[in-house]
């Protein structure tokens, strides 16, 4: 059995209702395990972009790509696992911090290049971005102070440099809006 590892796909889809459901349903049905999935609009009207991190070996990765292409609304798939790229997770963490501990916590944030976004007498909201490892590190460090809540995105990925990847990100002709 070939080695399973985390693989990152950039997937462009038509921005239509139900497309996320189609992608998620495909992964569930084919027994592909999603590690994280992030989706949002792009600068191109009508095009959404997903970053999907999946547990897969190289062969499974190829089948994931082929299956994604079978979705009528899927425009372009790029397996960037082995391509030099920037990968970021964004997290917001609310920490229970009294005035007494505040200075100490702010110092920690400095080390992690995180920032305080909101300060109240008993808590502060931290914004941090970076690799999942860095986020996890900060969470561990802040835990003794009391984490009240946290939220994070999935991984967002972009390849470095401006080398066009194959055909490059797609654009689509403006189409009459039609429910999917």
């Amino acid at each position: 059995m070939a080695e399973m590892s985390l693989r990152t796909f950039v997937v462009y889809v038509e921005d239509k209702p139900g497309v996320l459901n189609r992608v998620a349903s495909l992964f569930r049905r084919r027994n592909f395990n999603i590690h994280s999935l992030n989706v949002g609009t792009t600068h191109e009207p009508g095009v959404s972009r997903m970053t999907i991190v999946v547990e897969a070996d190289a062969d499974k990765a190829r089948r994931i790509e082929a299956n994604l292409y079978k979705l009528v609304n899927c425009l372009y798939v790029d397996d960037i696992t082995d391509v030099d790229s920037v990968n970021r997770v964004l997290a917001l963490i609310k920490v229970g911090v009294s005035a007494a501990d505040r200075a100490e916590v702010l110092q920690i944030l400095d080390v992690f290049r995180a920032r305080a976004l909101d300060v109240s007498p008993t808590s502060l909201i931290v914004e941090v971005s970076g690799s999942q490892g860095k986020i996890d590190g900060l969470v561990t460090t802040l835990r003794p102070y009391g984490i009240l809540e946290m939220v994070q995105t999935g991984t967002l990925s972009m390849t470095r440099g401006n080398a066009a990847r194959d055909a490059g990100p797609p654009t689509i002709k403006a189409q009459p809006t039609r429910a999917a």
Partner: protein
């Protein structure tokens, strides 16, 4: 079978039409001649508008029948089959037929009514999220809420259903979209879908590698799958075999893709493939797989599957490559185009030793024994099917149900032409045969006789469609292989569950009376010497004739590779098949 004397209907493009009218305008423009369906609240506007159009509607008795009929029509003709149902229960009743079509890559468009767009999400009466329900069992789905979207969506649905690797597409249309009006436009320019890639062209490099493997192989074997039939590649395959002299094994759905009576045809492979076919596969040094997907019923245990064979996989769907079996050369493309290309490059070759070896094991043939079985008064399904083959000159369109009789059909009815065997392969849907045969008959019309071969169990699942048959005045002959059991499951109980026949003995209505109750002719056959007369009578009688064959109850399909076992690990037919049953041994 379209509406008689239908006047050329007027061109209404540019006029204001209701969404309901636009549905039929679009279907007519897609060349639809017949639809199979059942009305209800959310689709009533469409039904009301239907009367204006030259499309024949077949009223089914259960919407499952509608989706199987559309499927049978598509398999018989290669064209898109259309079924139509109301929202909620009408739509959910289509599901089994849609799943059946998906598994066997059948082009189908299913149109469902939906509650008004303003009511969606409110759990309105008969509201079901049918696009959600069928998402994993369709090639694509659409929900249409505005009349102006109906024509472009139906056009796109037909295109998606029939292009590339075909499949079912569902178009769910809200009632308000059917009721409101807009100016009807029909755009017949080529459809552009930005993300849809139905076609692939074979890479030179892969073709070159394939040619080299083919030239150098000593013990090659060709697999003919459903893709051969779908791609209309039977001619190209015949030429390929004539050039290369390589024997051909067929998948269940590939039967008819290569003439069964051709000397290089080995027959069906897999779980109920004949021994020599599976042995040849295990022995081969090269497999050339054409338009098939190495289903588990074909491979058995993949770890021990064809261990010495290099594999060339020629297939339209890239997602099938290396899915079940790792291959050495993958050629993604239209099977006919690829074969045509290969025919240009492979030289003539002969492999007398390999052919002789296969011919020798083929000599073991148990089929021959069955054919020559003396008539001891007992009726075996094998007799029935072999006789049906003989008396229909091997030319009938046979639509089978699922079970033992299906496998016996595959073994004993030799199909020389494509689209003459219609059977649910991937899903194995009992209840498929009768409705699918009705659909097939609408497809082939008078060009071929259509026979159903069904088990007593499966026939009862959709027997209500006898009434549809009668209402449509069709002639579809029906052979029920009545063994008093859910035979295939009984066989598994016999082999693998210690002979505990739990929930497999099944009684049936008096099939002759059932036929008569529908105003059809019924015949009962219990002895071998009655088969010929019954088949002849069925063929000569106007209208549908149902023939019930009461066959040996404990007969089994041989050979059999137990699920997941090694392909060469077959349970073989007992030496003398006439002594297969306990009663015979006495």
């Amino acid at each position: 079978m379209t509406k008689e004397n239908s006047p050329e209907f007027p061109d209404r493009t540019g006029q204001s039409l209701t969404g309901a009218q636009i549905i039929w305008e679009s279907l007519v423009r897609e060349g639809v001649e017949v639809v199979f369906g059942y009305p209800g609240g959310a689709i009533m506007p469409a039904y009301d508008a239907m009367i204006e159009y030259p499309i024949h509607h077949v009223l089914v008795r259960h919407e499952q029948g509608a989706s199987h009929m559309a499927d049978g029509y598509a398999r018989a003709t290669g064209r898109v089959g259309v079924c139509i149902a109301t929202s909620g229960p009408g739509a959910t009743n289509l599901v089994t037929g849609i799943a059946t079509a998906m598994m066997d890559s059948i082009p189908m468009v299913a149109i469902t009514g939906q509650v008004p767009s303003t009511a969606i999400g409110t759990d309105a009466f008969q509201e079901t999220d049918i696009t959600g329900v069928v998402l994993p069992i369709t090639k694509h789905t659409y929900l249409v809420t505005r009349p102006e979207d109906i024509a472009p969506t139906i056009r796109e649905a037909f295109y998606v259903a029939s292009s590339g690797r075909p499949g079912p597409v569902l178009v769910d249309i809200t009632k308000d979209a059917q009721q409101s009006s807009c100016v009807f436009e029909w755009d017949d320019s080529p459809i552009e879908l930005p993300g849809y890639r139905p076609e692939y062209t074979a890479l030179e490099e892969e073709l070159r590698k394939a040619v080299e493997l083919i030239q150098n192989a000593e013990r090659p074997i060709i697999f003919a799958g459903h893709g051969i039939i779908k791609a209309n590649a039977t001619g190209a395959l015949l030429e390929f075999v004539q050039r290369t002299d390589i024997p051909v094994a067929c998948t269940l759905l590939g039967l008819g893709g290569f003439p069964a009576t051709h000397e290089r045809n080995l027959g069906m492979m897999g779980m109920h493939g004949e021994t020599w076919v599976n042995r040849a596969i295990q022995d081969s040094d090269l497999i050339i797989a054409l338009g098939m997907r190495f289903d588990d019923r074909v491979t058995g245990n993949v770890k021990t599957y064809a261990p010495n064979a290099k594999k060339i996989h020629i297939e339209l769907d890239p997602a099938e490559i290396n899915k079940n079996v790792k291959v050495d050369v993958a050629i993604v493309g239209d099977v006919r185009e690829v074969l045509t290309e290969l025919n240009r490059h492979v030289g003539r070759c002969e492999r007398p030793e390999w052919i002789a070896k296969i011919d020798a094991i083929k000599g073991d043939s148990a089929v021959r024994d069955i054919k020559n079985m003396p008539d001891m008064g007992k009726l075996y399904a094998a007799h029935v099917i072999h006789d049906l083959y003989r008396f229909t000159n091997g030319e009938a369109v046979i639509v089978t149900d699922v079970g033992q009789h299906q496998m016996w059909e595959a073994q004993y009815y030799k199909h020389d032409h494509p689209r003459r065997l219609i059977t649910s392969g991937g899903l194995g849907t009992m209840g498929f045969a009768l409705p699918a045969a009705i659909g097939a008959k609408f497809g082939v019309k008078d060009a071929a006789e259509v026979w159903v071969i069904a088990g007593d169990g499966g026939f009862q699942m959709t027997a209500a469609e006898l009434s549809t048959l009668k209402q449509e005045g069709l002639k579809v002959n029906i052979a029920i292989i009545n063994n008093g059991y859910l035979g295939m499951v009984r066989q598994w109980q016999q082999f693998f569950y210690g002979g505990r026949y739990v929930a497999t003995p099944i009684i049936s209505p008096d099939f002759v009376m059932l036929a008569q109750a529908h105003g059809l002719t019924g015949i009962r056959v219990t002895r071998r010497d009655e088969v010929e007369a019954a088949v002849k009578q069925a063929r000569e009688t106007p209208g549908t004739v149902l023939v019930e064959f009461q066959v040996e109850q404990m007969d089994a399909v041989y050979p059999m590779v137990p699920a997941g076992a090694d392909l060469h690990d077959m349970i073989e037919r007992p030496h003398n098949p006439i002594y297969e049953t306990g009663a015979d041994a006495e």
